[in-house]
Symmetry: C2
Subunit: 337 residues, 2 copies
């Protein structure tokens, strides 16, 4: 079978590998689609070399079909599944208190362990969720990022009537905006990339684009109150500088982005306005179920977010394009036979 | 009457002033004690010159007795009262949503408007709370900082069995530790000043003193879980660096200190562990009532925290001593006749 291998910063190799053997509680999956995610771009730049081995197979946004599965699992050959790509210890504080996705010894499939960027993949059957027939392969490949967005919105307790600001209108930012709107919130997205500004507008999302003063906009938009919830989805220091000035008294900032280095934060504003900042990462099983429900009912529109579909052989090119930005939202690797 | 006047950074003047006239809804107070607080030290250093006018009278931790009050207020001459030193607009987002102490146009008596560092003071009667006879004047002068601590512990939702770390064992840190312990939490305080280390130990508070590795201590103390709640009470960048490493998955950091400048924060840790940071400031009326209850029942010990009592004429010296640190906790100005 064909597989991709991480060979160090900036380099992927495509090569042959043996079809893996499924263990006792595992299914053998035939992979159909894998999304390229922000985390993958961090891997591509060598930021996660302490976690991703040389020769490792990445990819954690996967749609696959069952090639073989234990009868007791209930999964049948040919059935389409998405993969919750986490392996947890079951014993740490996080696992003991209902937040196993934050396991102190968490292994992410496609980061710490082999992922979906290969034709066949073995995964524990308790990590699989069946995909409704109404969803296309492309849409189903977006369930993982939609589960992230569903988690972020749930954790931030976004409510009907809330004024929500999303800083950063890439795939996760756009999905957060759609999920929050679905909850009855008023939502604006701040985005500088003109391609993304146009796409968000086409999706009916209100955008504050380049050259506009976000703080002044939010001030007026909320009648001087400030936003109820701000999502930081960019990973830029400028967004961290801006975020504290956008939120209302006792409002919430959700940190969805990865900031590799400590960033200056206006802690006085936290004190003066009793703001709350919380991190928001990954997802619980309920977020996957919510994502499947939102996608299947059409409450969230996924297909337009897919900018490009490339074969596995073009993984390197896909990474470079996604990293360069420009006219791109989600890039999918298409492995369907 | 005698009064003190802020004359710019590092300078107070003591002089004569007319006894103020109480307005329609005000009482005339004869001041007995005023505490010197961290905010007062910021004023003394000129950090709050945008709020404190030249010639202004500071002081917001006040015990007084009623000299005159409107009959309808229910207060009688000679009755001892403490002062909730806030004036709010009643119309902004904070006032409309039950958090008036965070009013967008908040005026703090003793900062933005005249405070207690004078023999007589006029204050709206709805800002006064009666003091139980069991409390000494010194103890009653500590009700304001105790209300701060009660607020901080309430807002952080400290519960029985929680592992709580307080970074900074000055008056507020010590009071937070005592209130949290009262709720059934296990508490340690991190403090470097040897005088304070010794005083905290005498109060039965466990202290991690100078030369010890706080992170390693907390790791072992919590069996590798991390603390449930960390209070940052120092205002030092080193404490901000440390705080994110001390708290458990989905744990809480309470920002009680004032950081005048943006400080680098490990936002990745917020993301990875889904930590929460919230600011905690001042108090609602219920926090004052809780403070009076805790003090009157002896649940919290206040008297040992008073290091020194100085006459109004020595205000400058008191500020300098409190600012210098060393062998000092709370300095009170004694104006009792």
């Amino acid at each position: 079978m064909r597989a991709s291998f991480y060979e160090g910063a900036g380099r992927f190799r495509i090569g042959a590998a043996e079809v893996p053997k499924a263990g006792h509680d595992e299914a053998l999956l035939r992979v159909r689609r894998v999304g390229i995610c922000g985390t993958d771009l961090h891997i591509f730049q060598g930021h996660l070399d302490h976690r991703v081995p040389r020769g490792g197979v990445i990819g954690h946004e996967t749609l696959a079909e069952i090639a073989e599965a234990p009868a007791a699992s209930g999964f049948r050959a040919g059935e389409r599944v998405v993969v919750e790509p986490l392996r947890v210890c079951g014993a740490c504080r996080a696992c003991r208190t209902g937040a196993a996705y934050l396991c102190y010894r968490l292994k992410v499939l496609g980061v710490d362990e082999p992922g979906g960027m290969q034709e066949f993949w073995t995964v524990a059957t308790d990590r699989l969720l069946s995909v409704p027939a109404t969803l296309s392969d492309d849409e189903a490949a977006m369930i993982e990022p939609l589960a992230v967005a569903a988690h972020d919105v749930r954790r931030a307790q976004v409510s009907a009537g809330d004024a929500v600001v999303v800083i950063g209108g890439g795939p996760i930012g756009a999905l957060i905006a759609m999920v929050a709107r679905q909850r009855g919130a008023r939502v604006i997205v701040s985005e500088l990339n003109p391609f993304r500004v146009e796409m968000l507008a086409k999706l009916g999302i209100d955008v504050v684009g380049p050259g506009r003063d976000l703080a002044a906009f939010v001030e007026e938009w909320t009648g001087g109150d400030g936003a109820d919830v701000v999502f930081e989805v960019t990973g830029n220091a400028a967004a961290v500088r801006a975020m504290t000035g956008l939120v209302r008294v006792q409002g919430t900032i959700s940190m969805v982005a990865i900031h590799a280095e400590p960033i200056p934060v206006d802690l006085y504003r936290f004190f003066a306005r009793e703001l709350t900042l919380h991190g928001s990462r990954l997802y619980a099983r309920q977020d996957w179920e919510e994502a499947l429900r939102l996608a299947a009912t059409g409450a969230v529109t996924l297909a337009p977010l897919v900018s490009r579909r490339l074969p596995l052989e073009s993984l390197q090119q896909g990474m470079e394009e996604a990293l360069r930005g420009g006219p791109v939202m989600k890039v999918l690797i298409d492995l369907a036979p």
